[in-house]
Amino acid sequence: MNKLKVGDKGYLVDLCKGQKALVIGLCNDNKSIKRRLLDMGITTGVEVMIKKISPMGDPVDIYLRGYELCIRKKDMKGIIVKVIE
């Protein structure tokens, strides 16, 4: 897997630990998961950071809007981001 560099666009799932990115959009097929992610603050323009990764590699802990959100990699595939740091 190619690492995403600053300025690259990609999916949140491809980010490494410690990388920061801006959310550009959501393209989840599952409507209720999309609803939930929106409600939890994953909206366009929000800054997210991969903070912790579970020792088994999944799920991932993301820092956004002043709190930590845990989601599975599967659900991160639908989140389009632009790397900023």
Binding site: G25, L26, L38, P55, Y67, L69, C70, I71
Partner: protein, 658 residues
């Protein structure tokens, strides 16, 4: 007047509820502790408060969130107190923007104001009040500050009515007014219809559809995204005007997580912590205290019987009181010191924030078994009692993961099963009893894994997800923990004084009566006849046709600790300071037990159908009677297969060794 406490999960609603009403409802530090609606009266007033499960928005995602949303929208409380976690204001205010669209008055209780000071956060509450259009009260439900002012505000109804937040563009506002569903909560429902919410799909009209598609084109994304984006943009604007945070150093939580979520150490630490809990409760404390409490009751028994004899009470009543009631109840009560330690450990796991880490840690592993990381919460609570554990499965989003979790939860040895384990292992495995206890917990894990894999084939899977927040570690309130442990212990004692007492009396009568009158020999008693009917089930487990062991195990359905009570009553033990030694003495009714059959018997009692209260909550959460019976049969069959298997292996080992 009815006031609903509404807010995000883990924002401290129940802690506030406890302060307002003076009760001690269950609190914890993980999202989804409260799973039911609870009502109480504010101390010294006639105001009713309703504590609700936490929600992130007014769109339900799990069954416990549905409870809250239904209540808020359909039952229309007179006022909503929106508990907002001040350390996480952005996400919290998202719900607030939705609540303000309802026809109900809202007061914002800005909670955790003690923590924001430490974090270098400053919030201008007057400005926030002005911008949100709702009364803001600063409180700390943990430190109990600001509560008086909150009550004053509620009483005097110092609320701002009819706020109208300018969140959406004129274009969207125009559509919202056009939808006009002529219902209560007009504005809120209009927006829901606009958002294409599935719950309100029947209220949609084609005219709006065209306008929506125009807007979607202009913004370049779907309408549900547009609405959520606009809400969050609005909150960001407010935040920039009334919120200030100094740059902070690395928090305690991050430091602790470096250790507890360490790539290599996390799992060993988790295993160590869980083993420590059980060894502490069952091993160290247990072995020291059971003897003491037993002695106390033996003395009581002796004094009572000599007193009753001295006042000339007939022999059978003396026997009923001493051999039936005191013996039966004492057999259970002697385990209280161990339970206190166990309850204390569970309470600490729940309140510090480690519980959420466990779910985060093991989600991947559990996913393979058809379970969610969140299944761990019921499993851990289940080591205290299966009933609240089964109820806590409501936080699991996916119905299929939830059902498997419900069926597997009773496999965890609950506190009422401890007496059985301790009684047998203490006698048959002496100094190795600690090891035996740990082995039983590992066996429970194995049974869960195997059961989950089997159930996965029967219960149809759908796509699952795990969306949760990782809360910060917190120092628990000592007062709360004290009362929590106290309450749980009290429940156990109460059960000993009611259910166990009643069944001890019944057991005594069935033991002393035959179908024709008083039983001269207990072999002719009604209890023996009942036992003989079912003894074939237990023959392959214990290698002996024993009606006594059979009825004891069956009585475990009443409450698992009843197994121990029944055994002591059947064996006719009264003045003993060492129950197990007498119970298993050769020549006695239970004298046939050897280490192999003892272990197999424990295994059956542990994993077979749980007690009636757990069965009732399984039925409630599984939804249908059919599923409940399915679960009971499944659990009992699994237990039987495992115990027979263990008995065969154990007997073989005994034969080879000696």
């Amino acid at each position: 007047m009815k006031i609903a406490l509404v807010g995000n999960q883990n924002s401290g609603k129940t802690t506030l509820f406890n302060h307002l009403t003076g009760s001690n409802q269950k609190v914890g530090n993980w999202p989804g502790v409260t799973i039911e609606r609870k009502e109480g009266q504010i101390k010294g007033t006639d105001l009713m408060v309703v504590d609700l499960p936490g929600i992130y928005s007014l769109s339900p995602y799990t069954s416990e969130e549905e409870i809250s949303i239904k209540y808020i929208i359909e039952e229309c409380p007179d006022m909503i107190i929106n508990v907002v976690d001040a350390t996480c204001i952005e996400r919290s205010l998202y719900l607030t923007t939705q609540l303000l669209e309802l026809d109900t008055n809202v007061i914002i209780a800005l909670n955790m104001c003690d923590i924001i000071k430490k974090k270098g956060i400053f919030i201008d509450n007057k400005q926030l009040e002005l911008l949100m259009g709702a009364r803001v009260v600063m409180i700390s439900s943990l430190k109990n500050t600001g509560i008086k002012e909150l009550i004053k505000v509620i009483k005097t109804k110092q609320i701002i009515t009819n706020p109208h937040n300018k969140i959406f563009s004129n274009e969207i506002e125009r559509i919202i007014t056009k939808i006009n569903p002529c219902k209560k909560h007009k504005r809120f429902i209009s927006i829901k219809i606009l958002e294409n919410d599935l719950l309100y799909a029947n209220l949609k009209s084609d005219v709006i559809e065209i306008e929506v598609s125009h807007i979607e084109k202009r913004y370049g994304c779907k309408i549900d995204e547009i609405i959520a984006n606009l809400r969050y943009n609005y909150i960001m604007k407010i935040k920039s005007e009334c919120f200030n945070q100094n740059p902070q150093k690395k928090s305690m939580t991050d430091k602790l997580d470096k250790l507890f979520l360490n790539k290599w150490l996390a799992i060993p630490i988790f295993i160590f912590i869980m083993m420590l809990v059980y060894l502490l409760a069952v091993g160290v404390v247990g072995s020291k205290t059971v003897f003491m409490v037993n002695k106390l009751f033996a003395n009581l028994n002796e004094t009572t019987s000599s007193y009753l004899n001295s006042i000339g009470v007939s022999n059978w009543i003396v026997s009923l009181v001493c051999n039936g009631i005191i013996t039966g109840v004492a057999a259970v009560l002697s385990f209280i010191p161990q339970l206190i330690i166990l309850f204390l450990c569970i309470s600490l796991l729940e309140t510090t924030g480690y519980m959420s880490r466990i779910t985060f840690l093991l989600d991947r592993l559990f996913l393979r078994l058809g379970l969610s990381g969140k299944s761990l919460i019921p499993f851990i609570i289940g080591s205290g009692c299966s009933v609240p554990a089964i109820m806590s499965t409501r936080i699991i989003e996916n119905d299929y993961e939830k059902r498997i979790t419900i069926i597997c939860t009773p496999f965890i040895p609950c506190s009422a099963k401890l007496p059985i384990i301790v009684l047998f292992s203490g006698y048959f495995f002496n100094e190795y009893s600690g090891l035996i206890i740990v082995s039983l917990y590992f066996l429970a894990i194995l049974v869960i894994i195997i059961s989950a894999l089997i159930l996965k084939c029967f219960i149809k899977s759908t796509s699952t997800s795990y969306i949760s927040e990782l809360p910060e570690y917190r120092f628990p309130s000592i007062k709360y923990i004290f009362f929590d442990v106290w309450d749980k212990t009290l429940i156990f004692i109460k059960r000993a004084g009611t259910t166990i007492l009643l069944f001890s009396i019944i057991t005594w009568f069935l033991l002393n009566l035959s179908f024709t009158g008083f039983a001269m020999n207990i072999k002719d008693s009604i209890l023996a006849s009942i036992g003989n009917i079912f003894a074939w089930i237990f023959y392959p487990i214990i290698g002996e046709w024993s009606w006594a062991a059979t009825v004891a195990a069956i009585q475990g359905l009443v409450a698992k600790e009843q197994v121990v009570s029944s055994m002591t009553i059947i064996a006719g033990l009264t003045e003993s300071t060492n129950t197990s030694k007498q119970l298993f003495a050769s020549g006695n009714l239970f004298g046939f037990f050897n280490p192999a059959s003892a272990y197999a018997y424990i295994v059956f009692c542990l994993f077979s159908a749980p007690c009636v209260s757990a069965i009732a909550s399984m039925k409630k959460e599984l939804g249908t009677k059919k599923r409940m019976w399915g679960a009971i049969v499944f659990q009992t069959v699994i237990a039987w297969i495992f115990s027979v298997f263990i008995f065969i292996i154990g007997s073989t080992i005994i034969m080879i060794v000696g």
